[in-house]
């Protein structure tokens, strides 16, 4: 591990330590309670009747037989429930004023628009009863042509939502200076034009979704227990969609087993269970099956990317032009249309490219809606530029490392005004490349690659680089406003000192596996000088933490953690006043050392933190104007995004005879600014990298031409495991962010963003003796074999 920068810190030694996660014992022993573990008297189960057709008119729904089945309480068609919805399911990101957004009803009426679209629901006393009853609902369909291909969708040959008149939802452009782009391409010595396909991915969180809605016996209030990343946003949206007063709705996210963006949404089942709990006056619940998750939970990615680079004779890039065709799926979910925009600003990557052109056209298809999936727009952007710069390296005839060095934004350019209009907070890119090359032994690998090629080996070595920057810490609220996003980007925290000097932290950032409890307690412990175990972290219940904007976009630490840090500072400010009163000293003359205040230079008399806490509680002797109790709340709205970066290198061996791709080595060097807990950082990188490898080599949500999904079980949808990878090498550099007092940036998505292009660049590098310059993802053995064995004039 190399540290290239150190921040001055009043460290008490908690921040920066590899503290074990306090969340893990309960998770690992099965004590943690997920939604499906909850069990309430009188509860009813919902079963969803889902369309088996990708696109079909619903000409009749007969629920009578199902309604009469054993254990069934009621059954409903979409028409039966239509008057329960005060509004369609929400899309909170109308990216353009003229964006087309079809009304998305929780239960479809008239038409089903993807396989898995809910067309009826049954309610009964057990999961088994409703699973049987679902099969007894008779739905008459008139199948329509399915729109699966994105170019077909754009052609409007078959229009999915007839009332919209087109399959195009919107076109969004970011072209600050079109003439400059044209001039750059006209003057270029080298150009590359590449087309890449971002296949659809199934998020596959370890815990499928689930919801349990409890109507309170008095007053009509509703408590929604949901496996969600966004209890706060769900509360607002459920109130709007159901036509309830927001203060009557409480949302609780119990232990949540991962989300990767897929639980950053408001889903039909949450609204259906809420409506039916109100109707029946008892708890109503639903738990997703794994195969349902493949159909009914959002998919990730789904883009066709055209990227062009213009460069001079040395390979210095002068312009990048990108045109996206993005697959929205059948409907717009919560932030579906905004996902391409999260990448829209990053198609120049870590390179100083003066002329920039981005446009995106987004279309409806008869497939599951897409939405945020780990990285959300940024992996797609990084993939495109990192693949394209390798293509440029081939064009110019230089090593992939060298072409990157020639184009990096230089350390002295920060804060860097990007061509897309962002200000990159801080960065120093080249050291991450140097360190990653050292970790894998880059020069030796290139020599070994040459040796094998000279020998005519059928085992081809490939080395793939990915140097990346991402945009984290969603987000400055004013910036979100400029993007037409319907919410802010702040986060709330309360630090509350109890009479016995134990501390409660209340955070609006709702974790689902990230380890907020551990990290937040470390942030507070660092400043208060107390044991992290004396600090409890409360979250994910809108009755306990009423204000918050939840967890996504690698925002929790840089936004929510900063709020916690600032609230701790406010507590200390107040404690200082009380200490000064006790010590009969000027507050400015005090210093905080070892969990107590003392007068600078004369450490004899001390006001211990515990004594101050108790004094604040009794309020017997507080200075004038100081309220009882030590508690402070802060809402932090970041002034800018943060921009983590790094270099990942993948080393693969491609077996010419089988097409098999084996990952031999993988090194990541990440710079996420200051690290609160390096163990958690590494865990995030490991999981993220494996997920990125998944897209590169294993995963694709397959649909046939009729829109039928072909891999809805884990037997067919291949999520990689630890067995498919080498032990990752991990390095780090530290370039603190100046945008927040902790100097942190975010690490939740970096691995996923970096890994996919690193692996595919390695595969393409391995295949270069065959003249192969592209391989579609996932680079499965059959696909690689077919590429090798259909190349004309290739062969080694």
């Amino acid at each position: 591990m190399t540290v290239t920068d150190e921040t001055a810190s009043e460290a008490t030694g908690v921040i920066g330590t590899r503290r074990l996660r306090r969340e893990d014992p309960a998770l690992l022993t099965g004590e943690a309670k997920f939604v499906d573990d909850l069990d309430l008297p009188s509860q009813l189960w919902v079963g969803c009747v889902r369309s088996p057709h990708a696109h079909a008119r619903i000409t009749g729904v007969d629920v009578s037989q199902a309604a009469a089945a054993d254990g069934v309480v009621a059954a409903y068609t979409g028409a039966d429930l239509a008057d329960r919805w005060a509004a369609p399911l929400p899309c909170a990101w109308p990216v353009t004023d003229d964006m087309k957004n079809p009304a998305h009803q929780p239960v479809a009426v008239g038409k089903a628009n993807h396989v898995g679209d809910i067309v009826a629901v049954v309610v009964g006393s057990s999961r088994y009863a409703v699973a049987d009853a679902v099969e007894q609902v008779v739905v008459d369909y008139e199948p329509l042509p399915a729109v699966i291909d994105l170019e077909d969708a754009r052609s409007d040959t078959t229009v999915i939502h007839e009332d919209l008149g087109t399959n195009v939802s919107y076109t969004w452009e970011l072209i600050p200076d079109p003439d400059a782009v044209d001039a750059a391409f006209a003057a270029a010595t080298h150009t590359v034009a590449e087309r890449y396909v971002q296949q659809r991915l199934i998020p596959a969180a370890m815990e499928p979704r689930g919801v349990l809605v409890v109507p309170e016996p008095f007053g009509g209030d509703l408590t929604i227990y949901s496996a969600t990343q966004i209890p706060h946003i769900l509360k607002v949206m459920a109130a709007i969609t159901l036509g309830l007063a927001e203060h009557r709705v409480r949302v609780v996210a119990p232990a949540v087993g991962g989300g990767f963006g897929s639980k950053l949404n408001v889903y039909a089942e949450e609204i259906i269970c809420s409506a039916l709990a109100l109707e029946h006056g008892v708890p109503v619940r639903w738990t997703e099956t794994r195969s349902e998750a493949a159909l009914a939970t959002i998919h990730g990615r789904g883009q066709i990317q055209d990227i062009e680079l213009a460069a001079d004779a040395d390979g210095k890039i002068s312009a990048v032009r990108v045109k996206l065709l993005a697959d929205m799926g059948a409907y717009l979910q919560l932030v579906t249309p905004g996902i391409p925009l999260l990448g829209a600003f990053l198609y120049h990557g870590v390179y100083d490219i003066p002329a920039y052109s981005f446009s995106c056209t987004s279309v409806f298809t008869n497939m599951t809606p897409t939405d945020a999936y780990r990285g959300a727009g940024r992996p797609e952007a990084t993939y495109a530029i990192e693949r394209a710069i390798d293509a440029l390296a081939r064009e110019v005839g230089v090593d992939p490392a060298e072409i990157r060095r020639r184009n990096y934004i230089r350390a002295e350019q920060f804060p860097y005004a990007s061509p897309a209009g962002l200000e990159f907070d801080s960065g120093n890119y080249e050291p991450t490349l140097d360190q990653a090359m050292e970790l894998v032994g880059y020069a030796d690998l290139r020599a070994e690659q040459e040796r094998r090629r000279a020998e005519g080996s059928t085992k081809h070595l490939g080395i793939g680089l990915s140097t990346f920057v991402e945009m984290c810490g969603l987000a400055p609220s004013r910036v979100l406003a400029s993007l037409n996003y319907s919410a802010g980007g702040w986060e709330s925290a309360t630090v509350r000192v109890l009479p016995t000097a134990k501390v409660q932290v209340v955070t609006g950032s709702a974790p689902h596996g990230q380890g907020h409890e551990t990290s937040w307690s470390m942030i507070v412990a660092e400043r208060l000088g107390i044991d992290p175990d004396d600090i409890d972290v409360l979250h994910s219940d809108t009755a306990i933490a009423p204000m918050g904007l939840d967890t996504y976009g690698s925002r929790s630490l840089s936004v929510g953690g900063t709020a916690v840090h600032l609230a701790t500072e406010k507590v200390l400010d107040k404690a200082r006043l009380i200490a000064a009163h006790q010590l009969e000293a000027n507050p400015d003359d005090l210093e905080y050392v070892d969990a107590g205040f003392q007068v600078k230079g004369s450490p004899g008399a001390r006001a211990e933190f515990a004594a101050i806490a108790f004094a604040a509680f009794t309020a017997h002797d507080l200075p004038d104007g100081v309220e009882p109790n030590l508690e402070a709340q802060v809402t932090w709205d970041p002034p800018n995004f943060t921009f983590p970066f790094g270099t990942h290198i993948a080393v693969v061996e491609v077996d010419e005879e089988t097409g098999g791709v084996e990952l031999l080595d993988y090194a990541s060097v990440d710079d996420c600014g200051n690290q609160i807990n390096p163990l958690i950082v590494e865990g995030q990188v490991h999981g993220g990298v494996l997920q990125g490898i998944g897209q590169a080599l294993f995963e694709k949500a397959e649909f046939d031409l009729d829109g039928q999904p072909r891999n809805v079980t884990f037997g067919d949808y291949l999520v990689p495991s630890a067995a498919e990878t080498p032990s990752f090498k991990h390095g780090t550099t530290v370039t603190p962010s100046p945008t927040n007092p902790l100097g942190v940036k975010g690490i939740g998505e970096a691995g996923t963003i970096a890994a996919t292009p690193a692996v595919i660049n390695a595969v393409v590098d391995a295949l270069s003796p065959f003249g192969i310059t592209d391989v579609e993802m996932p680079a499965s053995p059959d696909r690689v074999w077919a590429l090798i064995h259909t190349q004309e004039g290739g062969g080694s």
């Binding site: 999961r127 088994y128 699973a131 049987d132 099956t289 794994r290 195969s291 349902e292 005879e657 089988t658 097409g659 098999g660 080599l697 294993f698 397959e702 072909r710 891999n711 079980t713 037997g715 067919d716 291949l718 990689p720 495991s721 067995a723 498919e724 499965s780 053995p781 059959d782 074999w785 077919a786 064995h789």
Partner: protein, 275 residues
């Protein structure tokens, strides 16, 4: 993920299981380790009215040296086969193949008899048994019969077992130091083979080569075996591995790719086995 309703019976002996099968006929399925049947039931691809649990019939859980062969009780779990000293000494191919079935959780539940009776052409152990020329023992209301591995498999998930018969023992010929190899090609360690090849060379019965996932049943690479018997080189023989096969096309590869894999993996298996 929610199976249809079924009745559950636990059999305490093979005879009790066979009696229960006789009572229920085609409506019943035997449940051993459950790693094939239960997922199919959860997807409602299998909807047996009665499930007869033989998972606790412990007298069918053994690995015994029976002189010319090693006798393996049908309910012996993959993990016990993988770690058996008797098999390591006398039938190392099968111990090795068992170590490649699924993942550790699967191997601690799944049984050799369950795997063979399920007759999945993509499973590992049926092909290993085929390459070895193993013999299966089935018991029914009329008593026991022996079935050669080569006669056992009749189609996708189909075998010659009658509805009221239960596989009770697998007899694996001792390999006597013969060369062997199992070449399994898949995308993830836990997956079924896209194609796999089992080869046994030098046990006095000619070279046995069996293919996984190259048709509706595990199949012998007959042309390869014949070519080797006629004196062809391993490379020449391996090039015939896919002859006469009709492999499936699926998300992991089309039949053309599978045929190419069969040839490559057979060449590697023969080399590895010393053929």
């Amino acid at each position: 993920m929610i199976p249809a309703a079924f009745d559950y019976q636990r059999a305490d002996s093979a005879d009790a299981a066979i009696a229960a099968l006789a009572d229920h006929g085609d409506d019943a399925k035997l449940l051993a380790g459950g790693h094939s049947l239960v997922p199919m039931m959860k997807l409602r691809l299998a909807t047996p009215a009665v499930v007869i649990d033989v998972g606790r019939v412990d007298d069918l859980r053994y690995v015994e040296d029976a002189g010319e062969h090693v006798a393996v009780g049908a309910l012996t779990r993959h993990r016990d086969i993988e770690t058996s000293d008797v098999l390591a000494e006398h039938v190392p191919l099968v111990a090795h193949v068992a170590s490649l079935v699924g993942d550790p959780a699967v191997r601690h539940f799944g049984t050799i008899g369950g795997s063979i009776a399920h007759a999945d052409p993509a499973s590992d152990l049926p092909a290993a048994a085929l390459a070895l020329g193993a013999t299966f023992v089935a018991r029914g209301p009329g008593g026991e019969r022996e079935i050669a591995a080569g006669d056992f498999f009749t189609g996708y998930f189909q075998s010659v077992l009658a509805a009221d018969e239960m596989l009770t023992e697998i007899r694996l010929p001792k390999m006597g130091g013969a060369g062997w190899s199992y070449q399994k090609f898949n995308r993830r360690a836990q997956d079924w083979a896209i194609v796999a090849v089992a080869a046994v060379h030098g046990n006095g019965a000619g070279t046995g080569v069996a293919l996984v996932n190259m048709g509706s049943t595990p199949v012998r690479a007959a042309a390869t075996e014949a070519a080797l018997a006629a004196g062809s080189s391993a490379a020449e023989a391996a090039a015939l591995a896919a002859d006469g096969t009709d492999p499936p096309s699926d998300l992991n590869g089309d039949s053309r790719y599978r045929k190419a894999l069969a040839e490559v993996l057979t060449a590697r298996a023969l080399t590895d086995a010393g053929a």
